[in-house]
């Protein structure tokens, strides 16, 4: 007899064994009348297995046997004949350890008729009982319901764990920032003191302390931003943002970043662009991050910011394009780009610095704002990052 072909289910409650109605089987030599009388005495039994030499050799199902023998003429015809005449010689036989899901699948593919007639259950090849399609369906429904309950419970546990993680990160970031605040602040005070006293030789060391402190602060803020976004606690404040003003501010903020690498910042903005309803802080953070990256990866070259709006039939879209003339990326590098803590490759962070969180945060912020950020790149020629935001309330400058 067949054993379970798939993995043995661990939960006994979800196996064929629980369905077995333990009706005594018939011997192969039993006559039809014996089967008829036995089934009449067992109203919950879908049929009877027929056994020869300890093996299941057939199955008589209640409906067909009672159907044939209920009529007195046919009863007289069959009652003394061996049950082997009426039995199904190839019944569905499953091992008690077969999982409910696998059983249902085998029933459908191997013997759909068993859904009505019933099937035989064996345990280690020895007859164990019979079961009906209806019982199988009940067990399937129970199983699905149990799984749904289990899934709900698992999701509640996961949600609670995620909430705990977010709370922990929020509290930790506060605890981390307080001493960091002192490190950065005292490094700044000492620089001011040193400058006042003309004590210039210690300035580079103090700048390194301040720089390292600020880098660490950037990481902590980045992790906090990510955890806030992932916990759904990032606050979005929508307000009309006059885009030319935003772009002018970005130009001022990015100027020192461009100057550091002798880059030329080239800003173009569509003349007819006006205001956009969005969260200005999040948009500014996203664009500044792209500009900062572009300046970082460009040496003595142009960094372009272009702002335009498109309306391809549907609602208008504002497009902010940040293009660098840096080292560019391969498709594989671009695939990992928006994952947290993955710069294009590990050596990048050593060469160019950065936390590896900026683009992950930018993508999440842009999606929170209803848009997205995408990238195209040519190794050796540079990369183009594009933020597109839907702009249903876009007003145009007159």
């Amino acid at each position: 007899m067949q054993g379970p072909s798939g993995q043995a289910p661990v939960d006994e409650a979800a196996t064929a064994g629980r369905l077995a109605v333990k009706a005594a089987p018939l011997g192969a030599a039993s006559n039809c009348d014996a089967a008829f009388l036995q089934l009449q005495g067992l109203p919950a039994c879908p049929g009877l297995a027929v056994i020869a030499d300890g093996q299941v050799v057939g199955y008589v199902d209640r409906l067909s046997l009672l159907g044939k023998l209920a009529d007195p003429v046919r009863h007289a015809l069959y009652e003394k004949r061996p049950v082997a005449l009426l039995m199904d010689r190839e019944p569905l036989v499953v091992d008690a350890a077969t999982g409910i899901d696998e059983l249902a699948e085998r029933l459908v593919t191997e013997k759909p008729a068993a859904l009505l007639s019933g099937f035989v259950i064996t345990r280690d090849g020895v007859y164990d009982g019979v079961a009906s399609g209806l019982d199988l369906m009940r067990a399937s429904v129970d199983l699905a319901r149990d799984r749904a309950v289990e899934l709900d419970r698992a999701r509640a546990v996961a949600d609670a764990a995620n909430q705990t993680k977010s709370d922990f990160l929020a509290n930790m970031s506060h605890e981390l920032r307080t001493p960091l605040n002192a490190i950065i602040g005292y490094a700044q005070i000492l620089q001011e003191d040193a400058a006042d006293e003309g004590n210039d030789q210690i300035l580079p060391d103090l700048r390194k302390i301040e720089g390292a402190g600020k880098h660490l602060l950037g990481l902590i803020n980045g992790i906090l931003d990510l955890s806030k976004i992932e916990a759904g606690r990032m606050e979005i404040v929508l307000e009309p943002v006059w885009i030319p003003d935003l772009v002018a501010e970005l130009e001022t903020l990015a100027a020192p970043l461009a100057a550091a690498n002798h880059d030329r910042l080239e800003v173009t903005i569509a003349e007819d662009i006006g205001s956009l309803e969005t969260d200005v802080t999040k948009l500014k953070q996203s664009l500044l991050n792209l500009l900062s990256n572009a300046c970082k990866f460009t040496k003595d070259g142009p960094v372009r910011l272009a702002v335009r709006w498109l309306a391809d039939g549907g609602e208008p879209v504002v497009e902010f394009e940040v293009a660098d003339s840096g080292i560019g990326m391969t498709p594989e590098q671009m695939g990992r780009l928006f994952q947290p803590f993955t710069q294009a490759d590990a050596s990048t962070s050593r060469q160019f610095g950065g936390t590896g969180l900026g683009l992950a945060i930018t993508r999440r912020l842009c999606r929170l704002l209803g848009g997205d950020v995408t990238v195209t790149s040519t190794p050796g020629a540079g990369s183009v990052f594009t933020i597109r935001l839907p702009a249903p309330g876009l007003t145009k400058a007159s």
């Binding site: 506060h174 002192a182 602040g185 005292y186 005070i189 806030k228």
Partner: protein
């Protein structure tokens, strides 16, 4: 010389910010909790209050609410300072009556600009 009351329970933060503000020509006084802050605002009538929000005894939100509920001192500008950059903190600070808000660690130039906008004359 504008007089600033700095409300901050962390001695390092108090020391750092006050040294830098003294250097910029401000006269500083201090409170280490919200209750002391309210007493000092009433007694000293500073030109501006820099208010940490996570404070012992009475927190910064409640202290600000009480200052802004007192007609004798409600005109004194309060700038909230907090390391919590969590969702809702800014809104809560403004709701409590703070005139402006900045996050720690302090970016001195940014804070000075906010203070200048609120200080009289």
């Amino acid at each position: 010389m504008p007089r600033i009351l700095l409300v901050e329970d962390n001695p390092d933060n108090r020391d750092m910010l006050s040294r830098r503000l003294v250097r910029r020509g401000f006269e500083m006084s201090f409170a280490a909790d919200g209750a002391e802050a309210i007493d000092r605002v009433r007694g000293e009538r500073p030109d501006l209050v820099l208010m940490d929000l996570s404070l012992p005894v009475i927190d910064g939100w409640e202290a600000t609410r009480r200052i802004k509920a007192d007609p004798a001192i409600r005109h004194i500008p309060v700038v909230a300072l907090t390391a919590h950059a969590m969702a809702g903190d800014r809104a809560r600070a403004l709701e409590a009556g703070c005139d402006d808000y900045d996050t720690k660690p302090v970016d001195l130039e940014r804070l000075l600009a906010k203070m200048a906008a609120l200080l009289p004359g």
